[in-house]
Every structure is written in structure tokens, then in C-alpha cells.
């Protein structure tokens, strides 16, 4: 089933066409990679899907329902969650409180605050932050904040999870450890769109890759096709990654 359908999406900032006539379809259960040069419109696309920005034109359909320009809190309640490239935790809240915000204002109603807290602790444990539950988000390292964002997004019980450069700043060994975590998220029946620059991670995770350049889709296909696509090599990968 087609979970997410983006059609003819356009967004400009002043004179800059950030996203131009973009079509993307995501099937339920897929992991779709979204790649492209810096400033090619990847984060803008995520912002348009999650209601952080309203498109100038075009539609976003989620589970058959038109969600174009829906306020982000409502997009979250419909089952769309995200993490941020430049992390945005509630700095004055503890790690636990951050995750609880996701749980309390997410897709499923809570049974009680106490249960919500227990569930949030389980998620903190899952991302390896349980020992930091009572630490204020502002006192966490960048990597800890990223894990916190993931827990907070998952707490909202999404059906679609958008990950914006979750692995930036990890070393290759740490990436090897993080990749199974993302596959585990898929096993929870959550569909994933992942923006990532780490070629090894994007190739290892994605069922399908969509490539943007200057706001337009220039290629789409399975990872092994994409790495041999001449235009993708030219604008994005560079020769060193040309296998």
C-alpha cells in the first residue's frame, strides 16, 4: 500500500526555488533514502511533509488522506514523526520529559501519565540513554541529543518516521552499530525516509533511493543502480565513490 504520496510539490524562498515539482511515493514498510548535494532541498522536503512548511503548490497524501500543510502537531497525531538534522530537544526538560512529550502528544492516547513515563523509560533504555533520564537535555552531548530525538520521535508511535542525518558525526564503527537499530525500527512496522550523507549507511539501509539536485528529482531507483548513475556521481558522490 502506498503510505505517503507527494505530488507536484513546490516551495520557494524568495527567489530561490528550494523544491520544484517533486513527486515521491513511499510504500508501507519501505526504507527510502533521500540524498543530494548540500542545499538541494532534502530538509525542505521533510519540512513540507511534516507541516513545518506549507508548500506553494502540490499535495501530500498520507494513508489516502490529504495532509498538505496540516499543522505539524496534527501531522504528528496522524502518525508522521521526525528527527532534526540540527537537533532540537527541549533544552530545559530532562531526557525523560522530552520523550514523554512525544508520547503524550503523539498518535495514541495515553492510559495515564505513569504508564506514559514507563513507556518513555523503555524507549530511553532502547536508545541507550536510560542512565541519563534525569539529565537536562542541555547537558547532553550532541550524540546523546540525537539519540534522545530518536526516542522522542518513536514515542509518538509513528507509522512514518523521517530521519534527517541521524548518523552525521558517527565514526564508521558507530555507524555499523546504528544501522541495525534503524532496521529494528522497520521491524516495528514503521516506514522510514532517511536523509543521510554517509554513503555506506544509505546504501546499506535503503530499499530505494531518491536523488535531489537543486530542488528537483534527478534519479530514483535501487541503491546499486543509483551509485552508477552518471549524474549522481557528478553532482553528489564524486569519483572516489564510483565503485
Amino acid at each position: 500500500m502506498c503510505l505517503l504520496k507527494v505530488e507536484g510539490l513546490c516551495k520557494s524562498f524568495g527567489g530561490l526555488m528550494a523544491v520544484w515539482n517533486l513527486d515521491i511515493e513511499v510504500e508501507e514498510g519501505e526504507i527510502v533514502g533521500l540524498i543530494g548535494p548540500n542545499g538541494s532541498g532534502k530538509t525542505t522536503t521533510l519540512n513540507l511533509i511534516t507541516g513545518f512548511l506549507k508548500p506553494d503548490s502540490g499535495t501530500v497524501t498520507f494513508r489516502g488522506e490529504n495532509v498538505t500543510g496540516l499543522p505539524r502537531c496534527q501531522a504528528c497525531r496522524k502518525g508522521i514523526a521526525r528527527t532534526f538534522q540540527l537537533v532540537k530537544p527541549f533544552l530545559g526538560f530532562t531526557a525523560l520529559q522530552n520523550v514523554m512529550v512525544g508520547r503524550v502528544y503523539g498518535r495514541e492516547p495515553i492510559k495515564s501519565l505513569k504508564v506514559a513515563e514507563e513507556e518513555s523509560r523503555e524507549l530511553l533504555d532502547w536508545v541507550g540513554l536510560l542512565d541519563k533520564a534525569e539529565v537536562l537535555a542541555k547537558d547532553l552531548t550532541l550524540m546523546e541529543r540525537k539519540r534522545l530525538e530518536l526516542a522522542r520521535a518513536l514515542a509518538s508511535k509513528p507509522q512514518l518516521l523521517l530521519l534527517d542525518e541521524l548518523m552525521a558525526g558517527l565514526n564508521p564503527g558507530e555507524i555499523e552499530e546504528a544501522m541495525p537499530l534503524i532496521k529494528q525500527i522497520r521491524d516495528l512496522k514503521i516506514t522510514i525516509v532517511v536523509v543521510e550523507h554517509i554513503v555506506k549507511a544509505i546504501l546499506g539501509l535503503s530499499d530505494r533511493i531518491v536523488v535531489l539536485n537543486m530542488g528537483e528529482k534527478i534519479a530514483e531507483g535501487p541503491p546499486q543502480e543509483i551509485v552508477h548513475h552518471p549524474q549522481v556521481i557528478e553532482v553528489y558522490l564524486g569519483q572516489a565513490h564510483h565503485a
Binding site: 548540500n38 538541494s40 555499523e176 554513503v199
Partner: protein, 233 residues
């Protein structure tokens, strides 16, 4: 040129650096590698005066930096590119770069430096009048590096310069770092792309749990498990 001796540093009650000693010689390109949370960024913060160590000494060209303010340390010729591209979002790209050249010595050669930065990152020139807050994540990173270069540092501290950059730009940025070093700027590089960092660097230190556990060149370092997993992963 730069010498750290027995640095101990804390965040609140939590000790994060334990007796860090290291040195960087004039003209060198030195890498500081280790897993996330090991204390790499904290070490840079101690050097630039953003975090005051509880004990130990830091000397730069014989100057004691331990009690100097961060802006004085910039004047002495040390500049840092912060992790995750912290920029002034309300100001234009050009204004951010100009601020980088705030110290008197750098201000004199500002136009020349600007040309140099635009050569490295043509995207910044295209967007020079744009508000920096409208830049994408990768462009912010370019701006943060460009701003540090504008201060004409003698010692450049790079905290994960490849963070958030597309693969084609990562290659480019590592070539540029080598070039910047060749032009006489000493570089201390923190980088998760361990393979690339070790290929560039003359020497490297390995840090784990707030302690320097090894130093040397490329091959010597492969005996450390943390390096091996980071390198070969």
C-alpha cells in the same frame, strides 16, 4: 607551538578530561580521534578557553592560556570551527564571514581572505547576501569553516569538518585542509572519518574516556581496538 600538560576538566561535578597531555608543533597537521563522548570536543573547548580546566597548563607559543579569555585566545591566533556549524543565523552570510575577520590582524587582509574562502566554497559567494538562518545544514557547516579561516589563524581547530557534507564535498574539504596546512596553518583535526583523518594527518592522538591512550602515526594506532573498529567499521 601548543602544549597541553596534565589537563583535568569537569562539567559540574563530572570529570571529563583526565590528565590530558599533548602537543602540536608548528606546521603540523595533527588528528585527535576516538569514540563519541571520549572528550575530543571538550579538549578543543579547553584550548580555546570556552571551558576552564580545573588543573594543568596550556601553552601556545609560550603564552599561558589557562586564564585567558576566549576572545584573547583568538587574537593570539587560535580559531575553532565548532561542531555542527554554529553560526549567527540572523546575520547575512557575508556578515558572518566578516565577523570572522574581527581581530585587527585579520581585518587588514579581509578582502584577500574572503576571496580565498569563496574559492574554497563557491556556494557561500552565491549566497553571500542571504540570511545565514536560511542556509541548509551543509551550507552552515561551510560557513562555519569559512568564518574560522577569515580570522587568519596560526592554529586552526577543526571539529568534525565533514559533518553533514555531501560525499563530493567531503573529498573536497579534506583536500582543502591539506592545502590550508601546506600554506602554513597548523591544524588540529577532530574527525569521525578516521580513515580520511589518518591519511591526512602527520600524527594522531587517540582519546578514550577522557584520557589519551595512544599516539603515533597511522599504522602504530591500529593496535587500539577503538581505532580499529572506527577505522575498519
Amino acid at each position: 607551538m601548543l602544549k597541553l600538560e596534565e589537563i583535568n576538566a569537569y562539567y559540574g561535578d563530572l570529570q571529563v578530561l583526565w590528565g590530558i597531555s599533548m602537543e602540536v608543533n608548528e606546521g603540523e597537521l595533527v588528528a585527535l580521534i576516538g569514540p563519541n563522548g571520549a572528550g575530543k570536543t571538550t579538549t578543543l573547548r579547553v584550548i580555546t578557553g570556552l571551558l576552564k580546566p580545573a588543573s594543568g597548563s596550556i601553552r601556545f607559543h609560550g603564552h599561558h592560556l589557562g586564564k585567558e579569555s576566549a576572545h584573547k585566545i583568538v587574537e593570539l591566533g587560535i580559531s575553532q570551527v565548532p561542531e555542527g556549524g554554529r553560526i549567527f543565523t540572523g546575520m547575512s552570510v557575508l556578515e558572518n564571514l566578516e565577523l570572522g575577520a574581527f581581530v585587527a590582524e585579520a581585518r587588514r587582509v579581509k578582502d584577500q581572505s574572503l576571496k580565498w574562502v569563496y574559492e574554497i566554497f563557491p556556494r557561500l559567494e552565491e549566497r553571500k547576501s542571504q540570511r545565514a538562518g536560511t542556509l541548509s545544514g551543509g551550507e552552515r557547516q561551510m560557513l562555519a569553516i569559512g568564518r574560522a579561516l577569515m580570522s587568519k589563524p596560526r592554529l586552526l581547530l577543526l571539529d568534525e569538518p565533514s559533518f553533514g557534507l555531501a560525499p563530493i564535498l567531503v573529498e573536497h574539504i579534506f583536500e582543502m585542509i591539506t592545502e590550508i596546512n601546506r600554506q602554513g596553518v597548523t591544524v588540529l583535526l577532530v574527525e569521525q572519518n578516521v580513515r580520511a583523518a589518518l591519511e591526512l594527518a602527520h600524527r594522531a592522538y587517540v582519546i578514550e574516556n577522557g584520557r589519551i591512550v595512544g599516539q603515533g602515526i597511522h599504522e602504530d594506532l591500529l593496535s587500539f581496538e577503538s581505532v580499529r573498529s572506527a577505522y575498519l567499521g
